[in-house]
Symmetry: C2
Subunit: 115 residues, 2 copies
DNA sequence: GCATCTACCTCTGATTATGAGGTAGTGGCT
DNA sequence: AGCCACTACCTCATAATCAGAGGTAGATGC
């Protein structure tokens, strides 16, 4: 349980990156996004609804995503999300941030001393 | 500026890991901890005072660190921190969390499709 | 006396993940 | 028909914690 508490904090700020990443391969609706993230991350990540939907709305408001309602044959309607050119730019920014961040962590936490 | 906003969120939860990591090599006081973190991370990280001191107090309260006031020849007194066995255990936990987290991210964000 | 550097501490505001709750459509079971 | 489960969306209250600004205090130099 203690470990989960740490993880919850590490997750902060990763939802837009994860969402934009799975949408790079094509349009998806909310539930599908969670499944794709879980799949791609090897089961490590699966954004909760309480963080997914606000993130989607915020990305849409920023012009990073385009959304469209569509009916489903078998269940409630779905809101499909598609990445925009602006979203691709934002994705690149998030990827660069993550890369710099994880390199810094590898240096700082790496088993060997650096100084 | 936009990038910094992302990073600020990614940083959440990393302060205890960074602090415990630099204290693994010996005791340090607050200002020194920031410098060591900056040094080890190649300039990527340098905890702000507003996050460092609360983290130190919390780690001390948890029994992960032992602290001691000492006078300085040339300036105000310093509070030296030393890692305890419990702190080493916590460090191992944080390291494992970080490892799992960064592996998951590498899978999810890696340039090639996984599924 | 006053500014500057070191060194500590605390508070406010902003961001965001979680978990619980709520609304609806579809289909299966009794 | 009534009930439950599953899909699919959304929102709210709570908790964690980072940044930045402010405050206290000792030592040094002008």
């Amino acid at each position: 349980m203690g470990a989960g508490k740490i993880r919850g904090q590490l997750l902060k700020g990763t939802t837009p990156l994860l969402v934009l990443t799975v949408l790079r391969d094509g349009e998806l609706y909310g539930y599908e996004i969670v499944q794709k993230v879980r799949e791609k991350s090897g089961g490590t990540f699966a954004p909760s609804e309480g963080s997914l939907y606000p993130a989607l709305h915020s990305l849409e408001a920023d012009g990073a995503l385009l959304a469209e309602w569509r009916e489903s044959d078998k269940g409630p309607r779905r809101r499909y999300y598609r990445i925009t050119p602006k979203g691709s730019g934002l994705l690149a920014e998030h990827e660069a941030e993550w890369a710099a961040f994880s390199v810094g962590m590898a240096r700082a936490v790496g088993s060997r001393a650096n100084g």
